[in-house]
């Protein structure tokens, strides 16, 4: 199959690669770029384990073609921490025990990251709704809600500091 050349900024680094048009973004990230943080859980957009951020939107990369990202900016879980300092959502998940097996976590973190841009001061109900595209089989979500609340508080403190 003829390949197409695409240029994508991934975690701030420009990547120029020739890909098959049918290549899914999740496979491009995991297999071409060796960014294995995002996972494949369902292949049907239900579980959200593959969630990444594209041009300021949460996207499930298992149903998104790599060629659709030509010229886009993609942020994955590997790009969340800044020079070794954890992002507030990463800190929140750690401190509030918001993860167990860790498989959904990269997608959860990327969704939480974008959600808190969309709604910096959410209620619990808003968090539950805002995170409802991401499934977790381990935690029962209660501590994920706390983790997002932790991150929201920290981001607000940082913003006003």
């Amino acid at each position: 199959m003829a390949k197409k050349l695409i240029t994508v900024s991934v975690n701030g680094k420009s990547e120029e690669k020739a890909v098959e048009p049918r290549t899914l973004l999740i496979h491009f990230l995991r297999e071409e770029l060796n960014l294995t943080g995002a996972h494949i859980g369902c292949e049907t957009s239900h579980c959200g384990a593959c969630t990444v951020d594209i041009d300021g939107r949460s996207v499930k990369s298992c149903t998104h073609l790599a060629v659709q990202c030509d010229g886009s900016e993609v942020l994955t879980v590997e790009g969340l921490a800044n020079k070794g300092v954890l992002h507030a959502v990463q800190e929140g998940f750690y401190k509030e025990h918001g993860l167990q097996c860790g498989f959904c976590t990269p997608g959860m973190l990327m969704r939480a990251y974008r959600f808190l841009h969309e709604n910096p001061n959410p209620s619990e109900e808003e968090i539950r709704m805002g995170m409802s595209g991401n499934l977790c089989r381990c935690t029962g979500y209660q501590n994920i809600v706390k983790a997002v609340q932790h991150a929201a508080k920290k981001l607000q403190e940082t913003a006003t500091a």
Binding site: Y94, G102, G140
Partner: protein, 803 residues
């Protein structure tokens, strides 16, 4: 030179040992995308495997056309049962004493059964090749109902068993019959029923469900043709058992087989078995001399790898008119699918189902479980439970509710009346289990007080009296006991290997440590909690204790993580390995301090000379001495291995209460409140325990309220994607309230019983109890799961309650 003097309390806090809500050591990699799951593993020259599966549930294979697939550039091989026959690998033994087809041999027995494999350069080409393989089938009559399967003229599902009148668990009475297993005393139970003033009976179906961890099953198999050894990275809850099975199947000596369970994205019982996909990937790697990766997709996961439950149960209770239970009888028809691939200890084809007498002092009891073949996928694993304990707890808790309704008693009162009393422990049940410890009355009172039970009942009575109430209110109550921590090797084995578990601890010269275990975490946080046990036992800060599991080349042999056995079995192995080290350390400390061993006291992290606080040696001091200059005649080093064969199971228990409000117009059930009190004995890390309970309750909620694997008459699975199979989101999931009591296990070295499965086991009948309770005043005694809105709405219609 002198460090500041720290109090014993301060030093204990610094250890972060048992009882502390220590943050998790494993999180750093997971929150930064640096986990290492099977699908993350890449090896040089690695090929990809995909599987051709049957669209039909029962059919003869007439011909398989490989040519078109083989013609696709990048396809290396297409293998069928005929290719595996010369290797004698087209069939494999199951953990339940049956055989299962690795690739369908002449016929397919269930929809999505493995028919052929393709190996290609990448997963896209492999998927293309799967499409290009053409299989000609001749359809056969399908049987999906286990009662129909036992009819005399039912289709023969297992032609390979023709003429076999007995199986691994006794005589077979029909061509689709697998076993009949009995426990308890039938004569005593029958006699009690014959004379009973009150009896109740109830039929109930526990639907076929799937554990559905977020990571599907898969492996990367790598056979090195030069060295003759095989390394396989695999999603397994029991890597050592896999190594033994692979060695037996392949003929490669066990010393040349290395099985590694890396990070596991949830298991819940789905990752206990050995699946055809694993075997095929290993064979492909041996045949091609290159690493081969296979990772199933979600449809394959739900359709083929290890379902749970599918029990058709009839329960009966006999009682006195004032509600004292005198006998229990249970009959089960168990749908095992096309191959008996249940994952149970060898001697127990229905697992620990005989915990079915529950938390109650029932003098006479009998149960009988009949295993049946149908044209469905094999399995029957313990979905977040210990070997059919979930089914047993569901049955007895439903029956106690049914009896309470018949007698007009409150469901809390009837339970308190029949509980095994605190002073009766250790208690031997009518089925022969010796319950280690419990205090059910105290726990029940704590829950009833916490929720103000009388006020809830008063509110419910007021709602029932109001014909215009928009909701029906139900109160569910369950008081369950589990049997976990399999198990004593005199009773429990898998493939003949006793169900012990193991730990090896090495203290390094500078006082840090590594522990290697026969178990494997899948989210339970072993790297955190195991280190806490060692910290408390040996006075080494948990921060400098490394815990490793899952690599059979480095870890001691163990039976793995399922059935809540990690803490009861491996946790005990840790404590006892640590105590061996402690005993040696005491000798070294005595030598260093030039006193007799008996003149030393142990305090947090050090041996002190009795009566003189200034003379002491810390464990770190001792470690250095052990490598630097051990006492004359003593072996250098400071390490120990312990294989722990538990003397008994452990028996965690809990009291769960749930309040539901059912919308009379839509049938939707709102979980208003769920209060879960668990007693898992000694608590190692309260934060992790609470997290495990949240997760288990949520999985229980999923099972009770929405999960099922429905089949049509042709054997088509009607819901095998996450579109149809219910995994709750954060929106549906209730908020959980947790509580605990602590009744240590008397026979466990640290008194711990195991916890992560209790919330799944206990919550499911609690939801049913609550939903049925909403209709109890209308004479409804039971409703089968799942309690989705449509099914509850039908009940509203049937009872004239629909608005």
């Amino acid at each position: 030179m002198n460090a500041p003097v720290q109090t014993a309390e301060a030093r204990e806090i610094a250890l972060a040992g048992m009882g502390v809500s220590r943050l998790r050591k494993e999180d750093a990699r997971f929150i930064q995308g640096k986990g290492n799951y099977v699908d993350d593993i890449k090896m040089p020259g690695m090929l990809h495997m995909d599987i051709v599966r049957s669209p039909l549930a029962h059919a003869r294979i007439k011909k398989i056309h490989k040519e078109a697939a083989l013609a696709i550039p990048g396809v290396h091989a297409v293998l069928t049962a005929d290719d595996l026959k010369p290797l004698k690998l087209h069939w494999m033994p199951t953990l339940a004493g049956d055989v299962a087809a690795v690739l369908a041999d002449e016929k397919v027995h269930f929809q999505m059964q493995e028919v052929a494999i393709v190996i290609a350069d990448d997963r896209y080409i492999a998927a293309d090749a799967v499409e290009a393989v053409e299989v000609e089938y001749e359809e056969l009559p399908v049987v999906v109902d286990p009662y129909a399967a036992l009819q005399p003229d039912a289709p023969v599902i297992r032609e390979d068993l023709a003429g076999k009148t007995s199986g691994a668990h006794g005589p077979r009475e029909h061509h689709n019959h697998i076993f009949t297993w009995d426990a308890g005393d039938k004569a005593a139970a029958d006699a009690a029923f014959a004379n009973a003033p009150v009896t109740v009976s109830q039929h109930m179906y526990y639907p076929r469900v799937h554990p559905c961890p977020l990571e599907t099953c898969g492996c990367v198999a790598s056979f090195d043709p030069v060295r003759g050894d095989l390394t396989t990275y695999i999603t397994s809850q029991a890597p050592h058992v896999v190594r033994t099975v692979v060695s037996l199947l392949s003929g490669i000596p066990e010393s040349k087989v290395r099985i590694v369970s890396p990070d596991i994205g949830g298991g819940f019982g789905n990752k206990v078995g050995v699946y055809p996909g694993y075997v095929c990937a290993i064979v492909a790697s041996i045949v091609l001399g290159r690493p081969v990766k296979w990772v199933e997709d979600r449809v394959e996961n739900i359709s083929t790898t290890a379902f749970a439950r599918d029990y058709h149960m009839d329960g009966e209770l006999a009682a006195t008119p004032d509600g004292k239970i005198t006998a229990l009888r249970v009959n089960v028809v168990a749908d095992h699918g096309a191959f008996d691939a249940c994952a149970d200890p060898t001697k127990f084809p229905a697992g620990m189902f005989h915990i079915v007498s529950g938390s109650y002092d029932i003098p006479a009891a009998h149960c009988s479980v009949k295993g049946v073949y149908t044209n469905k996928a094999p399995g029957g694993v313990a979905y977040r439970c210990s070997f059919r304990v979930t089914e047993a707890v569901y049955l007895v808790e439903r029956m106690v509710d049914v009896l309470a309704q018949k007698l007009g008693m409150d469901k809390a009162e009837i339970r308190a009346k029949n509980f095994i009393k605190k002073e009766q422990f250790p208690y031997t049940s009518a089925f022969g289990f010796e319950y280690d410890s419990g205090d059910y009355h105290t726990a029940l009172k704590k829950v009833l007080d916490a929720v103000d039970y009388p006020a809830l009942r008063a509110e419910q009575a007021a709602k029932r009296a109001d014909p215009n109430s928009p909701t029906l209110m139900g109160i569910g109550l369950v008081t369950f006991t589990e049997v976990v921590g399999a198990g004593p090797s005199k009773m429990c084995d898998i493939l003949g290997v006793g169900m012990f578990d193991s730990c090896e601890i090495r203290i390094h010269p500078t006082g840090s440590a590594i522990a290697r275990m026969g178990t494997i975490t899948q989210g339970q946080g072993h790297q955190t909690t195991y280190a806490q046990i060692i910290a408390t036992e040996l006075g080494i800060p948990s921060e400098v204790i490394q815990v490793e599991e899952g690599d059979t080349s480095t870890a001691p042999y163990g039976l793995g993580t399922y059935g809540s056995r990690s803490t009861p079995v491996a946790g005990a192995a840790i404590a006892l390995a640590a105590r061996k080290i402690h005993a040696k350390a005491r000798k070294i400390a005595a030598h260093m301090l030039e006193v007799n061993e008996n003149d030393l006291d142990w305090e947090v992290d050090r041996f002190k000379v009795k009566g003189d606080d200034s003379k002491f040696k810390t464990m770190a001091d001792v470690a250095w001495q052990a490598y630097h200059q051990p006492p004359a005649g003593m072996e250098p080093g400071l390490e120990a291995v312990h294989y722990y064969d538990p003397p008994n199971f452990t028996f965690p228990f809990g009291i769960y209460l749930c309040v539901v409000d059912i919308d009379r117009a839509t049938g939707e059930t709102k979980i208003r409140r769920f209060y879960a009190l668990d007693d898992c004995g000694t608590r190692i890390n309260p934060m992790i325990i609470e997290g495990q309970i949240h997760g288990g309750l949520t999985e229980g909620f999923a099972v009770a309220m929405g999960q099922q694997m429905p089949f049509d008459a042709q054997g088509n699975l009607m819901g095998n994607t996450l579109m149809d199979y219910f995994l709750p989101t954060a929106v549906e999931t209730p908020k959980w309230e947790t509580d605990h009591t602590v009744t240590p296990s008397p026979h466990h070295p640290i008194g711990a019983k195991g916890v992560a499965e209790s919330p799944h086991v206990g919550s499911i009948p609690t939801f049913t109890s609550a939903v049925v309770d909403a209709f109890a005043h209308l004479g409804v005694t039971h409703m089968d799961m799942p309690h989705n809105a449509f099914r509850v709405w039908k009940q509203l219609k049937a009872t004239g309650q629909n608005l």
